[in-house]
């Protein structure tokens, strides 16, 4: 596997500029001869499809939802970072670059992150021009806030719905192109495989989820922007439909899968209420600015609270363990996501968890209300408190909130070079689906930035460069009549038939739940060699059971949510094993990946830069053969590696 | 498509036409009501008012106004009918368990109140304007006696070329009309429906032309409610007062007592 990152020569700050100059261009009149396929309509996919169509390419865009506006980018709450330095507080491209690399625990590629920081300003300009109603000050200028423990105020936001507004901006640009006929939109279509011709990605096979029809689509390049794989854990903050199928199918056709073990667990989610739960809901991290996180000091008290025999308000101050404040006096309740999450898990593992399931800790606003008054707290968090009450039925002004960590974002993904091109030439990967910018941990308000950077400002250049390199003579030459399409389509069809015909007794959801349970228990917040080895074995066993005892009701030629889920769970089953293998291979703790064997005496993550400063890339070798590991070394020329400390 | 055609074809365009014609009718209704209420000031006042309505403007202009009012009604109804048909087409199937959350009763029954009002308007014009409702053909001799009375202003009979100016005996027509119980009942019900129609319509017309927001919606809704009730009471009080015997016929046309004999003379000469 060729892992040439194609990082341009020259000083860091000049790389992108000079690279853009060196790119092959396509004459505007020739662009209409090319067809580009974009899979996914979120920030990365939607923005890329719109921008490529604006440039003159013919674009086909696919999404599994009923409208491109529903992509899960929409759910991001907090905001989007940009190094505008509108607050005159010392922000710069370099600082955003530095913070992102550091926040990612030094496991991201410098050049990519720098470019991200560099175009971040353009994103804000672009979004404002598109009509995104960012929050403003009375003077009419854009407002900013500090987010996720950043030392500067660089986060732009639109109430608690920043993701929604940014996505709707991209969606409106995309809609315009659909209206003009430059983009052909395929709603309710799911990509099930990628078609390679002479080693290059030249098309995809999709299933029309309404009619069940499986169709071929040819293009001169394929952009995959299909989001993350958090749902491999079954319960996550992701949307129900989020899946790894597109990425995993590409992996099986030769795309490298990079760093799948980097999964972000968000500390402030609403705890699981029982085994009927389908989804975890995130509460904004901003709550930790005023809320104090605690668990009872002893198991006896915790038990009484769980059973409803003791009101948490009646727990004496001395019986409360404000463990974040105790362990991390300087950052306290604002300790980073990975650290806070692990600390909560520790308390619960210790039998001191609350909530009926024992999987929860308190986020208490009692002292803040006493200090600032209920009105002040209401102004700051009113809508979040309402949301909490809507879901749990508890009033957080009276009883302390309960929170528990949940899978939120996945930093790993398909390997891409500086051009966001995967190891399959002609296949580009953007947004959460690629691995490139967040290293081992993503900072708050950086996901939206990356999605739009890829979609508006990187892919439109690099895809054009690839098409230019192929030459205009190649434009539109490969059609769906090529035998490669028939071959892949037959594979897809036979897989659907296989899923439909197992005739077992267990539903896809049930298998998904069981897989999620293995993943969460053995490859969740804290991982060990034993737990991972067990997980791999259990997943393999579960996979065998899946293929012999799956029950899919309904038929394949109509809308069938069971079949859709079955296909996705089948891919999660394979992918989950790769994730565990990656976690097992990475004998260090970094960012979202915590190996219990690799921690300091006081329980902090311990990186091993000598052995593991590389990107772990997995290559598919066959169904019953373990994947092969390849390494892309991470070279830091501009940043000195250091240990993150939040004490 | 021409811009006017596209305007008229659009749902919003037709709603705006409805609002504008509605405004014409809302204002007319208020004027009409204020005119009617003059019956409480005495027969001579209401009769003089009727005379003025007919003679202030040349006949052509009067007909112009009538046609304008009828056209407003026609456009109002045309818009309502075509929109209703479009709306039915857009929602062929309702819910099995249909629930209304906040729409007011009056807003949901505009079509019903509108249709009954139309029927009433047709009757009302036939009754009091054209006067050809069987047994209530007030223009025919003997239905109300006398059907013409002298025009009285400032307590004196108005003379022209040595003759008393005569005018239709509106006072007696109204009293005679409302003495018929079902006429009064229909009238009161119709004005009640008019009230309902207006409590939604008056505020709604501001919405349709885009001159309303949350703040003004509350205010306009209140204005509409008050307007509707004022119109209802203003109209309904006449049949009620008639039935209660407070309004009576006045064969002299409201001539002051002192002049009654003179009037009798005049009438006599006239009859000769």
């Amino acid at each position: 596997m060729n892992l040439d990152s194609k990082i341009p020569e020259g000083p860091l700050a000049q790389k992108w500029t000079s690279h853009k100059f060196n790119m092959k261009l396509v004459n505007p009149a020739n662009r209409r001869k090319y067809n580009v396929i974009v899979v996914g309509s979120g920030l990365a996919g939607g923005a890329a499809a719109a921008s490529l169509a604006e440039q003159g390419y013919n674009v086909s865009c696919f999404c599994y939802q009923d409208s491109p506006r529903r992509a899960h980018s929409i759910a991001a709450q907090g905001g989007i970072n940009a190094s505008k330095n509108y607050q005159n507080d010392g922000d710069s491209v370099h600082r955003l670059f530095y913070d992102t690399v550091k926040g990612g625990d030094y496991r991201a590629r410098e050049a990519n992150v720098y470019r991200l920081a560099e175009v971040s300003s353009d994103i804000i300009d672009q979004c404002v021009a598109n009509g995104v109603p960012f929050a403003r000050e009375y003077g009419g200028l854009l407002a900013n806030r500090s987010f996720g423990g950043a030392q500067v105020s660089r986060t732009f936001y639109a109430r608690g719905q920043t993701g929604q507004q940014l996505l709707l901006g991209a969606y409106s640009a995309l809609s315009k192109q659909i209206g003009l006929g430059k983009v052909k939109m395929y709603n309710r279509h799911e990509m099930l495989d990628v078609v390679k011709v002479d080693g290059h990605a030249k098309g995809i096979i999709v299933r029309n989820m309404v009619t069940g029809e499986v169709t071929r689509h040819a293009g001169d390049a394929v952009v995959v922007a299909t989001g993350g794989y958090g749902n491999v854990f079954f319960l996550s903050t992701n949307a129900q439909g989020c899946n790894v199928t597109a990425a995993h199918r590409a992996y099986r056709r030769g795309a490298g899968m990079a760093n799948p073990c980097y999964t972000q667990i968000h500390p402030t989610c609403i705890p699981v209420h029982g085994d009927q739960q389908s989804k975890l809901t995130l509460m904004s991290e901003s709550l930790r600015n005023d809320g104090r996180v605690w668990a009872p000091k002893d198991q006896e008290t915790a038990k009484k609270i769980r059973e409803g025999k003791l009101n948490p308000n009646d727990v004496a101050e001395d019986d409360r363990d404000y463990y974040l404040e105790r362990k991390y006096p300087s950052f306290g309740n604002l300790a980073p996501r990975d650290i806070s999450s692990r600390a909560a898990k520790e308390a619960c593992d210790d039998g001191r968890g609350v909530a009926t399931t024992g999987l929860g800790v308190f986020l208490d606003f009692r002292d803040a209300i006493k200090r600032d008054g209920q009105k002040a707290i209401e102004e700051r968090y009113g809508n979040l408190f309402e949301m909490y009450q809507c879901i749990t039925g508890d009033n957080p002004y009276e009883t302390p909130m309960m929170i528990f960590p949940a899978v939120h974002y996945t930093m790993g993904g398909l390997w891409v070079d500086y051009n966001l091109q995967s190891t399959i030439p002609g296949m580009f990967v953007g947004g959460e689906a690629n691995f490139s910018d967040h290293g081992a941990n993503r900072l708050g308000a950086s996901a939206l930035m990356q999605g739009l950077a890829d979609g508006y400002f990187v892919l439109p250049y690099t895809v054009g460069n690839y098409l230019g390199e192929q030459g205009v003579a190649a434009a539109g030459q490969v059609t769906t009549d090529h035998p490669a399409f028939a071959e892949v389509e037959a594979d897809v069809q036979s897989r659907i038939q296989k899923l439909m015909s197992i005739g077992g007794t267990e539903s896809p959801r049930s298998f998904h739940k069981r897989l999620g349970n293995i993943m969460w228990e053995k490859c969740g917040m804290s991982r060990t060699k034993e737990s991972l080895t067990e997980a791999i074995e259990e997943i393999q066993a579960l996979r065998r059971e899946f293929w012999s005892n799956l029950k899919v009701v309904g038929d394949a030629d109509s809308l069938n949510p069971e079949l859709e889920r079955a296909g996705r769970v089948a891919d999660f089953m394979e992918f989950g094993e790769i994730l565990c293998r990656d976690a097992l291979m990475r004998e260090e703790s970094c960012g979202g990946h915590f190996r219990a064997e690799h921690q300091t005496d006081d329980g902090e993550a311990m990186r091993d830069d000598d052995k593991f400063a590389f990107v772990g890339v997995w290559e598919y070798k066959g169904d019953d053969v373990p994947p092969a590991l390849h390494k892309e070394p991470l070279v830091y020329e501009n940043i000195k590696l250091a240990t993150r400390s939040y004490k | 498509m021409c811009s006017l055609c596209s305007f008229i074809k659009s749902t919003i365009g037709r709603k705006i036409l409805m609002a504008l014609t509605g405004l014409v009718l809302v204002l007319f209704v208020m004027g009409h009501m204020l005119g009617n209420l003059q019956i409480f000031l005495g027969a001579e006042v209401i009769n003089a008012y009727a005379y003025k309505l007919h003679h202030l403007l040349p006949a052509a202009a009067l007909w112009g106004i009538r046609i304008f009012l009828l056209a407003s009604i026609a456009v109002h109804i045309w818009a309502a009918v075509t929109l209703t048909l479009d709306n039915r087409k857009a929602r062929p199937e309702g819910y099995d368990s249909d629930k209304v959350v906040q729409a007011s009763y009056s807003s949901r029954t505009m079509r019903m109140s509108g249709i009954i009002l139309l029927a009433f308007i047709v009757f009302h014009i036939a009754h009091f304007t054209v006067r050809n409702v069987p047994s209530m053909q007030y223009n025919e001799p003997g239905v109300i006696e006398p059907s013409e009375v002298p025009l009285v202003k400032h307590g004196e009979v108005v003379m022209k070329n040595g003759h008393a100016v005569m005018t239709f005996n509106v006072n007696d027509m109204m009293v005679a009309g409302f003495k018929v119980w079902w006429v009064s009942a229909f009238y009161i019900i119709a004005t009640g429906l008019l009230c309902m129609h207006l409590t939604h319509g008056v505020s709604s017309m501001f919405q349709s032309v885009g001159l309303r927001n949350s703040l003004w919606r509350k205010r306009l809704d209140r204005v509409a409610l008050v307007y509707g009730w004022v119109v209802f009471l203003g109209f309904a009080i006449i049949p009620i007062a008639t039935m209660a015997g407070l309004l009576k016929k006045d064969p002299t046309g409201g001539l002051p007592v002192a002049s009654v004999s003179a009037a009798a003379e005049i009438t006599e000469t006239l009859h000769k």
């Binding site: 404002v128 009509g131 719905q161 389908s278 009926t356 879901i391 | 659009s10």
Partner: protein
């Protein structure tokens, strides 16, 4: 202790677009009051699958009230009885033991039923495609702070832009009117200075598409506002009416390009 309830679910079943469709009744036992409404449907699905039947198909995705995918009329009210709440954020504690819950798909001619509770809402996308955008090619934007926008205007635009495009307004309207949806986008974009250049064109095009897609007209009754999970006010419709009247007025004298 967590409370549970037994329910009777009366739900619309329709195989496909052409099928006539009818109600089916199912019994569900021991539903936790902490479950969300869609989790209750998940449980129903699992129960049906276990019995070898096809589960009830319904649209859903984010389950946090923002994607706008979930769409069902619960006991006669789109998204159910709680105001300002999507079906996915509705929780079972708002129902009681022994209750019969009737679930129907969005009812509107432009939203044909695809299967069970799933309807086709692409006409809403078409309205946006005809004009619901501010043209700004990637790379052509000026600095974001070059044009200050008064906070009041930005807030108003945000109020309008909060629409999640679920179509509950259409579903709640006895005329299946898409005025609240269309007006929210028009108000969002027409009120911002960036959107002024295309204002008249946008308004005319979107209204023409809206009517052309077969949505009914507005009768100003406000059921849409009551059903809207984002509480978009009727003000937006007044805004659209105003902008439409102005645009047509200008168009009468000189066609709007």
């Amino acid at each position: 202790m967590e409370k549970t309830m037994n329910l009777t679910i009366r739900v619309w079943r329709q195989k496909n677009r052409l099928d006539v469709g009818k109600f089916a009744e199912y019994k569900l036992a021991d539903i936790s009051e902490d479950s969300s409404f869609l989790e209750m449907l998940d449980i129903l699905s699992e129960q049906l699958v276990a019995d070898g039947h096809e589960p009830v198909a319904f649209d859903h995705d984010c389950r946090e009230g923002i994607c706008g995918m979930c769409s069902m009329t619960i006991n006669g009210i789109p998204h159910g009885p709680e105001s300002g709440t999507t079906a996915c954020q509705l929780h079972m504690r708002h129902f009681h033991d022994g209750q019969t819950i009737t679930i129907e798909p969005w009812r509107a001619k432009p939203f044909p039923v695809i299967k069970d509770l799933v309807v086709d809402r692409t006409p809403l996308d078409k309205i946006i495609q005809s004009g619901g955008f501010i043209t700004a090619r990637a790379g052509s934007a000026v600095d974001a702070n070059a044009m200050p926008i008064a906070k009041g205007i930005a807030d108003y635009a945000m109020d309008a832009a909060a629409c999640i495009g679920c179509g509950a307004c259409v579903a709640a309207c006895p005329n299946a009117s898409a005025m609240l949806f269309t007006s929210a986008k028009v108000a969002h974009m027409n009120s911002l200075p960036q959107g002024k250049a295309e204002k008249d064109r946008r308004t005319l095009a979107m209204v023409t598409t809206m009517d052309g897609e077969g949505f009914g007209g507005c009768t100003n009754i406000g059921e849409c506002e009551a059903a809207c999970p984002k509480s978009i006010p009727l003000d937006m419709i007044a805004h659209l009416n105003r902008d439409y009247a102005t645009a047509q007025f200008k168009n009468f004298f000189k066609p709007v390009a």
